[in-house]
Protein backbone atom coordinates (compact mmCIF):
# COMPACT_ATOMS: atom_id res chain seq x y z
CA UNK A 1 0.00 0.00 0.00
CA UNK A 2 2.78 2.42 0.90
CA UNK A 3 4.51 1.64 -2.37
CA UNK A 4 1.39 2.55 -4.23
CA UNK A 5 0.85 5.70 -2.27
CA UNK A 6 4.38 6.82 -3.01
CA UNK A 7 3.93 6.02 -6.68
CA UNK A 8 0.76 8.07 -6.56
CA UNK A 9 2.54 11.06 -4.99
CA UNK A 10 5.42 10.79 -7.41
CA UNK A 11 3.08 10.90 -10.36
CA UNK A 12 1.07 13.83 -9.04
CA UNK A 13 4.23 15.83 -8.29
CA UNK A 14 5.56 14.97 -11.71
CA UNK A 15 2.38 16.26 -13.29
CA UNK A 16 2.87 19.71 -11.79
CA UNK A 17 6.52 19.67 -12.84
CA UNK A 18 8.21 18.62 -9.60
CA UNK A 19 8.98 15.09 -10.69
CA UNK A 20 11.95 13.02 -9.55
CA UNK A 21 12.32 14.69 -6.17
CA UNK A 22 10.64 12.01 -4.13
CA UNK A 23 12.23 8.63 -3.60
CA UNK A 24 11.44 5.64 -1.46
CA UNK A 25 13.53 2.55 -0.90
CA UNK A 26 13.35 -0.31 1.56
CA UNK A 27 16.65 -0.66 3.38
CA UNK A 28 17.25 -3.05 6.24
CA UNK A 29 19.24 -1.85 9.24
CA UNK A 30 21.88 -4.37 8.17
CA UNK A 31 22.32 -2.82 4.75
CA UNK A 32 24.60 0.09 5.55
CA UNK A 33 26.20 -0.02 2.13
CA UNK A 34 22.93 0.05 0.30
CA UNK A 35 21.83 2.98 2.43
CA UNK A 36 24.96 4.93 1.60
CA UNK A 37 24.60 4.09 -2.08
CA UNK A 38 20.94 5.11 -2.26
CA UNK A 39 21.56 8.39 -0.47
CA UNK A 40 24.54 9.19 -2.66
CA UNK A 41 22.65 8.39 -5.84
CA UNK A 42 19.64 10.40 -4.84
CA UNK A 43 21.77 13.35 -3.78
CA UNK A 44 23.46 13.20 -7.16
CA UNK A 45 20.11 13.08 -8.91
CA UNK A 46 18.79 16.08 -6.99
CA UNK A 47 21.96 17.99 -7.75
CA UNK A 48 21.44 17.34 -11.43
CA UNK A 49 17.84 18.52 -11.16
CA UNK A 50 19.01 21.74 -9.56
CA UNK A 51 17.46 23.72 -6.74
CA UNK A 52 13.78 23.36 -6.05
CA UNK A 53 12.03 25.70 -8.49
CA UNK A 54 9.48 26.46 -5.80
CA UNK A 55 11.93 28.77 -4.09
CA UNK A 56 11.81 31.13 -7.01
CA UNK A 57 8.13 31.61 -6.33
CA UNK A 58 8.03 31.96 -2.56
CA UNK A 59 8.50 35.67 -2.29
CA UNK A 60 6.51 38.57 -0.94
CA UNK A 61 5.76 39.70 -4.47
CA UNK A 62 4.55 36.28 -5.40
CA UNK A 63 1.67 37.61 -7.43
CA UNK A 64 4.03 39.17 -9.92
CA UNK A 65 6.81 36.69 -9.77
CA UNK A 66 5.46 33.80 -11.85
CA UNK A 67 4.42 36.21 -14.54
CA UNK A 68 7.96 37.48 -14.58
CA UNK A 69 9.32 33.97 -14.80
CA UNK A 70 6.79 33.11 -17.45
CA UNK A 71 7.44 36.23 -19.42
CA UNK A 72 11.17 35.66 -19.35
CA UNK A 73 10.67 32.78 -21.73
CA UNK A 74 10.12 29.90 -19.30
CA UNK A 75 13.41 28.23 -20.04
CA UNK A 76 15.89 30.87 -18.93
CA UNK A 77 17.00 28.75 -16.01
CA UNK A 78 20.46 30.18 -15.62
CA UNK A 79 19.36 33.78 -15.38
CA UNK A 80 16.59 32.86 -13.04
CA UNK A 81 18.89 30.93 -10.75
CA UNK A 82 21.26 33.88 -10.54
CA UNK A 83 18.34 36.07 -9.71
CA UNK A 84 17.06 33.71 -7.06
CA UNK A 85 20.43 33.33 -5.41
CA UNK A 86 20.70 36.93 -4.43
CA UNK A 87 17.36 37.22 -2.74
CA UNK A 88 16.65 33.86 -1.18
CA UNK A 89 17.94 32.16 1.93
CA UNK A 90 18.04 28.60 0.63
CA UNK A 91 19.69 28.85 -2.71
CA UNK A 92 23.06 30.29 -1.78
CA UNK A 93 24.96 27.03 -1.32
CA UNK A 94 24.35 24.21 -3.67
Amino acid sequence: MTLKRMRFLQEVLDFVGLGGRLHMEWISSAEAQKFAQVVTDFTEKIRRLGPNPLHAFIQPDMILRPRVVAASGLKSTAAEKEDAKGSLPFTGKQ
Binding site: M1, L3, K4, M6, R7, F8, L9, Q10, E11, V12, L13, D14, F15, V16, G17, L18, G19, G20, L22, H23, M24, E25, W26, P53, L54, F57, M62, I63, R65, P66, R67, V69, A70, A71, L74, K75, T77
Partner: protein, 274 residues
Protein backbone atom coordinates in the same frame (compact mmCIF):
# COMPACT_ATOMS: atom_id res chain seq x y z
CA UNK B 1 -41.16 15.79 -14.60
CA UNK B 2 -43.61 18.10 -12.83
CA UNK B 3 -46.33 15.46 -12.92
CA UNK B 4 -44.05 12.81 -11.59
CA UNK B 5 -42.89 15.02 -8.71
CA UNK B 6 -46.49 15.88 -7.92
CA UNK B 7 -47.39 12.21 -7.84
CA UNK B 8 -44.43 11.44 -5.62
CA UNK B 9 -45.28 14.19 -3.15
CA UNK B 10 -48.97 13.34 -3.03
CA UNK B 11 -48.44 9.64 -2.59
CA UNK B 12 -45.74 10.18 0.03
CA UNK B 13 -43.03 8.46 -2.01
CA UNK B 14 -40.94 11.45 -1.05
CA UNK B 15 -41.47 14.15 1.58
CA UNK B 16 -39.23 16.72 -0.06
CA UNK B 17 -38.17 17.12 -3.64
CA UNK B 18 -35.05 19.08 -4.49
CA UNK B 19 -34.85 20.77 -7.84
CA UNK B 20 -34.24 24.08 -9.51
CA UNK B 21 -36.95 26.71 -9.37
CA UNK B 22 -37.10 29.72 -11.64
CA UNK B 23 -37.01 32.86 -9.50
CA UNK B 24 -37.09 36.17 -11.36
CA UNK B 25 -35.51 34.53 -14.38
CA UNK B 26 -32.80 32.78 -12.40
CA UNK B 27 -32.93 29.06 -11.65
CA UNK B 28 -32.22 28.56 -7.94
CA UNK B 29 -32.14 25.42 -5.80
CA UNK B 30 -35.49 24.87 -4.12
CA UNK B 31 -37.18 22.33 -1.87
CA UNK B 32 -40.63 21.38 -3.12
CA UNK B 33 -43.02 19.92 -0.56
CA UNK B 34 -46.75 19.23 -0.26
CA UNK B 35 -47.04 22.58 1.54
CA UNK B 36 -45.81 24.59 -1.43
CA UNK B 37 -46.94 22.30 -4.21
CA UNK B 38 -48.01 25.24 -6.37
CA UNK B 39 -44.30 26.12 -6.72
CA UNK B 40 -43.99 23.07 -8.96
CA UNK B 41 -45.12 25.27 -11.84
CA UNK B 42 -41.71 26.89 -11.75
CA UNK B 43 -39.66 23.69 -11.52
CA UNK B 44 -37.15 23.79 -14.37
CA UNK B 45 -34.67 21.24 -15.70
CA UNK B 46 -32.38 23.48 -17.78
CA UNK B 47 -28.64 23.57 -18.07
CA UNK B 48 -27.87 25.19 -14.73
CA UNK B 49 -26.28 22.93 -12.16
CA UNK B 50 -26.06 22.87 -8.42
CA UNK B 51 -24.96 20.00 -6.17
CA UNK B 52 -28.43 19.24 -4.80
CA UNK B 53 -27.07 15.99 -3.40
CA UNK B 54 -25.21 18.03 -0.78
CA UNK B 55 -28.55 19.36 0.46
CA UNK B 56 -30.06 15.90 0.26
CA UNK B 57 -27.29 14.47 2.45
CA UNK B 58 -27.71 17.24 5.01
CA UNK B 59 -31.48 16.99 5.07
CA UNK B 60 -31.29 13.25 5.43
CA UNK B 61 -28.91 13.56 8.36
CA UNK B 62 -31.10 16.10 10.12
CA UNK B 63 -34.36 14.28 9.49
CA UNK B 64 -33.80 10.57 10.00
CA UNK B 65 -37.25 9.68 8.62
CA UNK B 66 -37.54 12.01 5.68
CA UNK B 67 -37.61 10.58 2.18
CA UNK B 68 -35.97 12.83 -0.33
CA UNK B 69 -36.44 13.20 -4.04
CA UNK B 70 -33.84 14.71 -6.30
CA UNK B 71 -33.52 15.94 -9.85
CA UNK B 72 -30.35 14.08 -10.72
CA UNK B 73 -27.83 14.38 -13.48
CA UNK B 74 -25.28 11.73 -14.27
CA UNK B 75 -22.75 13.50 -12.07
CA UNK B 76 -25.35 13.63 -9.29
CA UNK B 77 -25.68 9.85 -9.48
CA UNK B 78 -21.93 9.41 -9.23
CA UNK B 79 -21.77 11.85 -6.32
CA UNK B 80 -24.53 9.96 -4.50
CA UNK B 81 -22.60 6.76 -5.05
CA UNK B 82 -19.49 8.29 -3.48
CA UNK B 83 -21.46 9.84 -0.61
CA UNK B 84 -23.09 6.55 0.19
CA UNK B 85 -19.74 4.70 0.11
CA UNK B 86 -18.45 7.20 2.65
CA UNK B 87 -21.59 6.83 4.75
CA UNK B 88 -22.68 10.38 4.07
CA UNK B 89 -26.00 9.73 2.38
CA UNK B 90 -28.63 7.06 2.97
CA UNK B 91 -29.37 6.16 -0.64
CA UNK B 92 -32.29 3.99 0.44
CA UNK B 93 -34.14 7.17 1.39
CA UNK B 94 -33.20 9.11 -1.70
CA UNK B 95 -35.17 8.82 -4.95
CA UNK B 96 -33.94 10.37 -8.15
CA UNK B 97 -35.48 11.60 -11.36
CA UNK B 98 -32.88 11.46 -14.08
CA UNK B 99 -32.26 14.56 -16.09
CA UNK B 100 -31.02 14.69 -19.62
CA UNK B 101 -27.39 15.72 -19.37
CA UNK B 102 -24.06 14.32 -20.56
CA UNK B 103 -24.12 13.84 -24.30
CA UNK B 104 -23.19 10.53 -25.89
CA UNK B 105 -23.07 9.21 -29.43
CA UNK B 106 -26.63 7.93 -28.97
CA UNK B 107 -27.98 11.06 -27.39
CA UNK B 108 -26.86 14.25 -28.98
CA UNK B 109 -29.06 16.64 -27.16
CA UNK B 110 -27.70 17.39 -23.73
CA UNK B 111 -28.29 20.01 -21.09
CA UNK B 112 -25.37 20.90 -18.90
CA UNK B 113 -23.68 24.15 -17.98
CA UNK B 114 -20.33 22.52 -18.69
CA UNK B 115 -20.90 21.92 -22.36
CA UNK B 116 -20.16 25.44 -23.42
CA UNK B 117 -17.03 26.48 -21.56
CA UNK B 118 -15.44 29.84 -22.32
CA UNK B 119 -12.38 29.64 -24.51
CA UNK B 120 -9.01 30.29 -22.91
CA UNK B 121 -7.43 33.60 -23.77
CA UNK B 122 -4.11 33.94 -25.56
CA UNK B 123 -2.11 34.78 -22.46
CA UNK B 124 -3.49 31.81 -20.58
CA UNK B 125 -2.78 29.53 -23.50
CA UNK B 126 0.75 30.81 -23.70
CA UNK B 127 1.78 30.89 -20.05
CA UNK B 128 -0.88 28.94 -18.24
CA UNK B 129 -2.94 25.88 -18.91
CA UNK B 130 -5.98 25.77 -21.11
CA UNK B 131 -8.87 24.40 -19.05
CA UNK B 132 -10.01 22.46 -22.09
CA UNK B 133 -6.67 20.68 -22.53
CA UNK B 134 -6.43 17.05 -21.59
CA UNK B 135 -3.96 15.76 -18.98
CA UNK B 136 -1.79 14.05 -21.60
CA UNK B 137 -1.30 17.29 -23.47
CA UNK B 138 -0.21 18.99 -20.25
CA UNK B 139 2.15 16.12 -19.45
CA UNK B 140 3.89 16.71 -22.77
CA UNK B 141 5.32 20.08 -21.70
CA UNK B 142 8.81 19.64 -20.35
CA UNK B 143 8.88 19.61 -16.52
CA UNK B 144 10.15 23.15 -15.99
CA UNK B 145 7.60 24.61 -18.29
CA UNK B 146 4.88 22.46 -16.76
CA UNK B 147 5.81 23.77 -13.34
CA UNK B 148 5.81 27.36 -14.48
CA UNK B 149 2.45 26.94 -16.15
CA UNK B 150 0.86 25.35 -13.10
CA UNK B 151 2.29 28.01 -10.86
CA UNK B 152 0.90 30.70 -13.11
CA UNK B 153 -2.50 29.11 -12.61
CA UNK B 154 -2.18 28.46 -8.87
CA UNK B 155 -0.98 31.93 -7.96
CA UNK B 156 -4.21 33.42 -9.29
CA UNK B 157 -6.10 31.72 -6.46
CA UNK B 158 -7.94 34.11 -4.16
CA UNK B 159 -8.60 31.40 -1.58
CA UNK B 160 -12.33 31.81 -1.74
CA UNK B 161 -12.85 28.10 -1.01
CA UNK B 162 -15.44 28.11 -3.76
CA UNK B 163 -14.00 24.92 -5.22
CA UNK B 164 -14.37 23.13 -1.91
CA UNK B 165 -17.77 24.57 -1.06
CA UNK B 166 -19.43 23.66 -4.32
CA UNK B 167 -17.93 20.18 -4.46
CA UNK B 168 -20.59 17.51 -3.93
CA UNK B 169 -18.11 15.08 -2.43
CA UNK B 170 -16.34 17.47 -0.04
CA UNK B 171 -18.03 16.75 3.25
CA UNK B 172 -15.38 16.74 6.00
CA UNK B 173 -16.19 18.78 9.10
CA UNK B 174 -12.58 19.82 9.57
CA UNK B 175 -10.98 20.82 6.32
CA UNK B 176 -7.21 20.48 5.87
CA UNK B 177 -7.29 23.55 3.68
CA UNK B 178 -8.12 25.60 6.77
CA UNK B 179 -5.67 23.89 9.08
CA UNK B 180 -3.09 26.46 10.02
CA UNK B 181 -0.32 23.91 10.54
CA UNK B 182 -0.79 22.48 7.08
CA UNK B 183 -1.34 25.58 5.01
CA UNK B 184 -0.23 29.03 6.11
CA UNK B 185 -3.16 31.29 6.87
CA UNK B 186 -3.70 34.95 6.26
CA UNK B 187 -1.89 35.31 2.99
CA UNK B 188 -2.90 35.68 -0.59
CA UNK B 189 -2.46 33.84 -2.79
CA UNK B 190 -2.48 30.85 -0.46
CA UNK B 191 0.67 28.78 -0.29
CA UNK B 192 0.95 27.46 -3.79
CA UNK B 193 1.11 24.78 -4.90
CA UNK B 194 0.42 23.22 -1.49
CA UNK B 195 -3.14 24.50 -1.23
CA UNK B 196 -4.11 23.04 -4.58
CA UNK B 197 -2.11 19.85 -4.23
CA UNK B 198 -3.65 19.11 -0.84
CA UNK B 199 -7.07 19.43 -2.36
CA UNK B 200 -6.01 17.40 -5.38
CA UNK B 201 -4.70 14.57 -3.22
CA UNK B 202 -7.85 14.59 -1.13
CA UNK B 203 -9.91 14.23 -4.28
CA UNK B 204 -8.07 11.04 -5.24
CA UNK B 205 -10.60 8.27 -5.61
CA UNK B 206 -13.34 10.68 -4.66
CA UNK B 207 -13.74 13.33 -7.35
CA UNK B 208 -16.54 12.35 -9.69
CA UNK B 209 -15.43 14.73 -12.42
CA UNK B 210 -18.49 16.96 -12.40
CA UNK B 211 -16.44 20.07 -13.11
CA UNK B 212 -18.41 22.25 -10.70
CA UNK B 213 -15.22 23.39 -8.96
CA UNK B 214 -13.77 24.66 -12.19
CA UNK B 215 -17.02 26.41 -13.01
CA UNK B 216 -17.12 28.02 -9.58
CA UNK B 217 -13.49 29.14 -9.54
CA UNK B 218 -13.35 32.90 -10.07
CA UNK B 219 -9.69 32.60 -11.06
CA UNK B 220 -10.39 30.08 -13.82
CA UNK B 221 -7.85 27.56 -12.56
CA UNK B 222 -8.06 24.22 -14.41
CA UNK B 223 -8.98 22.29 -11.28
CA UNK B 224 -10.96 19.61 -13.00
CA UNK B 225 -8.01 18.87 -15.24
CA UNK B 226 -5.74 18.41 -12.21
CA UNK B 227 -8.19 16.11 -10.43
CA UNK B 228 -8.68 14.18 -13.64
CA UNK B 229 -5.00 13.41 -13.72
CA UNK B 230 -5.02 12.48 -10.04
CA UNK B 231 -7.86 10.07 -10.64
CA UNK B 232 -6.16 8.63 -13.71
CA UNK B 233 -3.21 7.77 -11.47
CA UNK B 234 -5.58 6.19 -8.94
CA UNK B 235 -7.15 4.17 -11.72
CA UNK B 236 -3.71 3.10 -12.93
CA UNK B 237 -2.38 2.04 -9.55
CA UNK B 238 -5.47 0.82 -7.76
CA UNK B 239 -7.83 -0.02 -10.60
CA UNK B 240 -10.38 2.25 -8.99
CA UNK B 241 -12.78 4.74 -10.53
CA UNK B 242 -14.74 7.04 -8.25
CA UNK B 243 -18.50 7.02 -8.56
CA UNK B 244 -18.72 3.51 -9.97
CA UNK B 245 -19.49 0.30 -8.20
CA UNK B 246 -19.60 -0.69 -4.56
CA UNK B 247 -15.90 -0.82 -3.74
CA UNK B 248 -14.67 1.45 -0.97
CA UNK B 249 -12.11 3.96 -2.24
CA UNK B 250 -8.44 3.00 -1.84
CA UNK B 251 -7.63 5.95 0.40
CA UNK B 252 -10.56 5.39 2.71
CA UNK B 253 -9.03 5.02 6.13
CA UNK B 254 -12.01 6.19 8.14
CA UNK B 255 -13.19 3.42 10.43
CA UNK B 256 -11.98 0.07 9.22
CA UNK B 257 -8.70 -0.40 7.48
CA UNK B 258 -8.54 -0.03 3.71
CA UNK B 259 -9.81 -3.17 2.13
CA UNK B 260 -8.99 -2.66 -1.50
CA UNK B 261 -6.26 -4.97 -2.72
CA UNK B 262 -3.58 -3.08 -4.64
CA UNK B 263 -3.16 -4.03 -8.25
CA UNK B 264 0.11 -5.90 -8.97
CA UNK B 265 2.79 -3.55 -10.24
CA UNK B 266 4.20 -4.20 -13.66
CA UNK B 267 7.83 -3.34 -13.19
CA UNK B 268 8.33 -4.56 -9.64
CA UNK B 269 10.55 -1.65 -8.67
CA UNK B 270 9.58 0.53 -5.75
CA UNK B 271 10.18 3.84 -7.41
CA UNK B 272 10.15 4.54 -11.08
CA UNK B 273 13.24 6.37 -12.22
CA UNK B 274 12.04 9.48 -13.85
Amino acid sequence: MKDQVKKWLESGTVDIFLGMKMVDGHPLPHAFTLGNISDLEELVPGTVRYPLETFAAELAAENPDARIGLAARECTQRALNVLSLWNQAPTDRIETIKLNCCPSPLKEHAACSYLDPPEAGLFKKHFGIDNAADPEAVARFEPRERFSRWMYEFQKCIKCYGCRNICPVCFCEDCSLEHKDLIGTGQLPPEAPIFHLVRAVHMAGRCIDCGLCEEACPADIPLRLLYRKVNAVVDDLFDYRAGEGEQPPPFNIIGERPSLEPKPMENGSACPQR
